[in-house]
């Protein structure tokens, strides 16, 4: 597959990324358990196969060191927090901080106030305005690609926004995820399908006391296409795998 680097990240942007990571690492002994407590004890969430998720995530890194990105289905505004919680314990993230995923939240929601901006900065988020200035979107993609190529993990939702039908739609996969994948040699994609039992459609938040179930699958998409079509093809393959995992989830519930 033809590798196609995204425009190189300027030195200033690389320094900002390192600074954010180190501040986040410094505050992680406080921030990560707080998020876990909020999800488990304040909101009452449970993950049915939590041990399986965490065992699989550890296995992926122990099996082979290298670039990894996580691609997941997207139904609520806090999916990235629930997914990070599902994949690793606070102890795991302290010891392997690079596996705490970078996130790309919507700026209009998650960076609306100074308090939120500080919180998401500490939680390794790079806010972006979806559908906004394309130069800015590309710079965020370049930051993510830079982080992934340095063996940090990025969590991206291939559909960009929450699934409006409540189901993964491979046709709505944005090309951004494909651009990142094509720019990082030997990258693996961990597809994560996670859904609450009472999550029938998309919403802002999962219901209180929600019980989540799901699965993971590692893929390395290949494409014979070139240019933009290659990025779109990779994004579709990832979203297609998520759609298959969704079907397995729904079949299990029958």
């Amino acid at each position: 597959m033809e590798l196609r680097p995204i425009a190189p990240l300027p030195a200033g942007a690389r320094r900002k990324l390192v600074l954010q990571r180190e501040i986040s690492r410094l505050l992680s002994p406080l921030a990560i358990p707080l998020i876990g407590i909020a999800l488990r004890w304040v909101l009452g969430y449970q993950i049915e196969n939590l041990r399986d998720f965490r065992r699989e995530y550890r296995r992926i890194f122990l099996e082979r060191d290298g670039p990894v990105m996580i691609c997941a289905n997207h139904l609520t505004m806090i999916d990235s927090f629930v997914i990070a919680w599902a994949l690793g314990s606070p102890w795991w993230y302290f010891r392997h901080f690079r596996t705490l995923p970078w996130n790309v939240p919507e700026r209009s929601i998650f960076a609306a106030t100074l308090y939120l901006r500080i919180a998401i900065y500490v939680l390794k988020c790079l806010p972006v305005e979806r559908g906004g200035d394309r130069t800015e979107v590309t710079e965020v993609l370049a930051r993510l690609a830079h982080a992934v190529s340095n063996h940090e993990v990025a969590l991206i939702f291939p559909e960009a926004g929450r699934s409006r039908t409540g189901r993964v739609d491979p046709d709505s996969a944005a090309s951004g995820v494909g651009r990142i994948y094509r720019s990082v040699p030997d990258c693996r994609v961990i597809c994560v399908y996670l859904r609450g039992d009472q999550q029938h459609n998309y919403s802002d938040m999962p219901v209180r006391g929600e019980r989540f179930r799901g699965s993971t699958s590692v893929i390395e998409p290949k494409t014979s296409h070139r240019g933009l079509r290659a990025s779109r093809d990779v994004a579709r393959q990832i979203a297609q795998r998520l759609a298959e995992m969704e079907q397995e989830y729904l079949d299990d519930r029958k």
Partner: protein, 82 residues
Amino acid sequence: MDQTEIFEKVVKILTPYVKNQKALEGISLDTHILDDLKVNSARLVDVVLEFEDAFDIEIDDDDVDKVETVGNAVELIEAKIG
């Protein structure tokens, strides 16, 4: 193929993706595809892939970032056609 022909073909391709149909009435090279025509940003990729098929050209990821107005699209296609 001259610029007018390219422009007309570009507008034809864009039309099914346009949410603000009223903006099509006064469409020009300066019309902004996302802001004026209200094309969904995620669908811009589909639009550009249709340009590839219609004009038998190959467009790179970076080129998509340069397509903001109808004029940008026409210029890009002209450059690719050579």
